[in-house]
Amino acid sequence: MGRRGPRRWQALLWLGPSLTLIAAVVVYPAIALVSASLSRYSITGVYQGSVGTRNYARLLEQQALPAVVANTAVWVTAVVAVTILISLALAQLLNERFPGRRLVRWALIVPWAASLIVTAKLFAWIYDYYFGILNRALISLHVIAEPIDWLGDDATVMGAMIAVGIFVSLPFTTYVLLAGLQAIPGEVYEAARVDGASGWRRYRSVTLPLLRPALLVATVLNVIYVFNSFPIVWTLNDRNPGFAHDTMITYMYKIAFKSALRDVGLAGALGVVNVLVILLAVVVYLSTVTWREAEA
């Protein structure tokens, strides 16, 4: 496309505002994060010199770490897996024409559009031991005999958080899978019907393989979103002392900003680990999607 020299400067001009913003608020903080992980700070945040990789060594010595890593694995795996399964059914439903379909689409918008902190607070209230409506409903239905302290009992708190995580992940996932379903041409089904394939066979041998790209995208993006998720665990777990139910993200936040700890160096080391986990997921994402940059 012609002239090259001036074009490069021109590109800088047009991309300049975006590049500046990314450099100032994404790249620079990433560098600040790495540098924090290699430094020591006073509890009030004053820099006290470099410590090399000592924060990383200290991170590995933290007693809470194994449980936090295990929680993160359980949280991400359970939320993403169940979300995908339910969303497959929801997308299938929304792909049909029936009276009231718009109502379902609108209902699905609400947990997506509402701020996560609002939904998290709402569930903290619904799960409340004394005054929450969940225990009341389950007791009336004779599912349980005694109220359960959903958010205070070590046996139930992770499950309660996972349920909310699934609830808020459904809309996006369903919409992605629905877009995938709508991209499958009708003739494919016609052909399968002519061949005499039954409903479930048709779904397994025709729909699912063609839905693979959408499933991959939904899975990898959800892994990233759920790993990064903060407000749900932060809110629903806020009564419990210690780190027994924290994920790597909320544990990092507590180390950095909870008044009693305020260990910026240690939090920085965990922050770097978190960033590496996300980068790994991004690499997986890039290798699964067809990177369509070349078009246009």
């Binding site: 924090a36 439903l93 209230w125 995208v217």
Partner: protein, 270 residues
């Protein structure tokens, strides 16, 4: 018959999804005295819509609302101003570094600010920008930029080049072609970007929680949580404020629903 079954399933599903928000609205309409009764009731005994007046006239709530509006509007303006030229140039021209730039944009989209929050805090602390609107506005803008670039870029690419070439014959430069010819055609994409950026900033929590410790600088998401703390438990006011905060956002979101998937999956689902 099949349609009736589908409608029935759809109705049940809609109810299940909305039921928590029904609890929210009903709690928002309860008087304080009905919050702590056992066994709890779903509906108020005495309906108290005056909670909405109480919250709307609460000076603290008015402060949070103002902060949220300022932050969300300013961040939206920055997103549009930064994303538009980048989206246009990458949609129309090939140049060295284009792939690298788009890759960088994609990576920023995968990062939520919480992953970088320790670095963000160190940076704004060093620049003495903690508790400033600028810190929150810039952070919100940077993390919605990617979505805006994908949406606008796809839309610009769908506009035939000939229209701009005609403008070029008239002696229009690239910038004037963009502003006078392309942008007026791009209204639907622009609306999607504006609404999405506004909502993203409006709903943001963790950066605001970290950077805005001054009570007069807290946005709604952080502010409303002070209705329920270890010392006071005004759940009704928390949910009244929540209803006020989310109803406009849900309506706006419904308007752009159809365009969201494309922007969030960066053109990989067709």
């Amino acid at each position: 018959m099949k349609k009736a079954a589908l409608s029935g399933a759809g109705l049940v599903l809609a109810l299940v999804i909305l039921s928590p928000y029904l609890v929210m609205v009903l709690t928002a309409l309860k008087p304080e005295s009905e919050l702590r009764i056992t066994p709890p009731r779903l509906t108020p005994v005495r309906w108290q819509p005056a909670n909405f007046v109480a919250v709307l006239t609460d000076p603290d709530f008015q402060t949070w609302l103002r902060v949220s509006l300022v932050v969300a509007l300013a961040s939206t303006v920055i997103v549009v101003v930064a994303a538009t030229p980048a989206a246009y140039y990458t949609a129309r021209y090939r140049f060295r570094g284009r792939s690298a730039f788009l890759l960088l944009v994609l990576i920023t989209q995968m990062f939520s600010p919480v992953a970088l929050v320790v670095g963000l805090y160190r940076q704004f602390f060093a620049l003495d920008l903690v508790n400033t609107y600028a810190s929150l506005i810039l952070t919100n803008a940077a993390f919605t930029l990617a979505f805006a670039i994908w949406i606008l870029r796809a839309f610009f690419a769908s506009i035939p080049r000939e229209i701009e070439e005609a403008a070029a014959v008239d002696g229009c430069g690239k910038l004037r072609a963009l502003v006078q010819v392309v942008l007026p055609l791009s209204l639907p994409a622009m609306v999607t970007v504006v609404i999405f950026s506004f909502i993203a900033a409006w709903n943001e929590y963790v950066v605001a929680l970290t950077l805005m410790t001054d009570p007069s600088r807290k946005p709604l998401t952080v502010g409303i949580t002070s209705y329920v703390t270890a010392y006071v438990q005004h759940w009704n006011h928390l949910f009244t404020a929540s209803v006020i905060a989310i109803v406009p956002v849900v309506v706006l979101f419904a308007l752009i629903e159809r365009h969201l998937v494309g922007g969030l999956t960066a053109g990989s689902v067709k």
